[in-house]
């Protein structure tokens, strides 16, 4: 407020404002020169390095983004590959399981067939042995019956044969032997 009053007074006195402020054209040129030097200096010392640094940063960011993209691609490929590997592994596991089941079934069938064959052989052998035993037993019984029959006949004939029977038997034998 006071400064405004002073400027108004100076203008009223009819002097130049530059004169009243003590500004000369030399000082203006000098200031302009300083400003140019400062600007050029700042340009070279600050602006350019910062610009360069920003550019480098941008390139670095681009590079990182590219690497990220590459990595993403690689991850996608790996994921796809791993899915394929997983799928193949599942298929292989299923095939192995199926094969194992087949082999186990085949083995079980073989064992059952072998057991049946063995049982059949055993039954046949037992039947054969039973037949032999039965036949032997029958022969034994027949022999015993024959023994008993002959013994009984011997006793009966011994008791019942008369001298006439004996004579007739002797003569019959002599006739038979004479014809030989």
């Amino acid at each position: 407020m006071e400064f405004g009053i002073a400027v108004t007074q100076l203008l009223a006195e009819g002097g130049s404002i530059f004169d009243s402020l003590g500004i000369t054209w030399e000082s203006i040129v000098l200031h302009l020169f300083n400003l140019i030097v400062l600007t050029v200096g700042l340009y070279f010392l600050l602006f350019r390095p910062v610009k360069k640094m920003i550019k480098q940063r941008q390139e670095k960011v681009k590079k990182i983004e590219k690497e990220n993209a590459d990595l993403n691609d690689e991850v996608k490929k790996m994921k796809s590959s791993s899915e394929k590997v997983l799928s193949d592994a599942k298929k292989e596991a299923a095939a192995i399981h199926e094969s194992a089941v087949k082999v186990a079934n085949q083995k079980a069938d073989d064992i059952v067939a072998e057991a049946r064959e063995r049982a059949k052989t055993l039954v046949e052998q037992t039947q054969r042995e039973m037949d032999e035993e039965r036949s032997k037993l029958r022969s034994d019984i027949e022999r015993q019956i024959a023994d008993v029959s002959v013994a009984v006949a011997e006793k009966v004939i011994e008791k019942q044969i008369t001298p006439e029977d004996n004579k007739a038997l002797i003569e019959k034998c002599l006739d038979e032997w004479s014809k030989e």
């Binding site: 011997e154 011994e158 004996n166 038997l169 002797i170 002599l174």
Partner: protein, 73 residues
């Protein structure tokens, strides 16, 4: 002596035979080359006659015939 023994037949009977039967027996053994007979009574043969001439045996006894029947059974 040995030749004599060889030509003698051994006859086994279950009971004593009459003269007719003895004559038939002796005729038979003579026809087989024997000049003598030795008799033996053995009731265990059951009946009939057994004649031994050397290694040959003529078995017409009840016991022998039953044994033969038993063998065939």
């Amino acid at each position: 002596m040995k030749a004599k023994a060889k030509n003698r037949a051994k006859v086994v009977l279950a009971m004593k035979a009459d003269g007719e039967t003895v004559a038939k027996i002796e005729a038979f053994v003579r026809s087989r080359g024997c000049d003598g007979v030795r008799y033996k009574i053995d009731p265990s043969i059951g009946g009939g006659i057994v004649i031994y001439i050397g290694d040959k045996v003529y078995d017409g006894s009840v016991k022998g015939r039953l044994a033969s029947v038993k063998r065939s059974v």
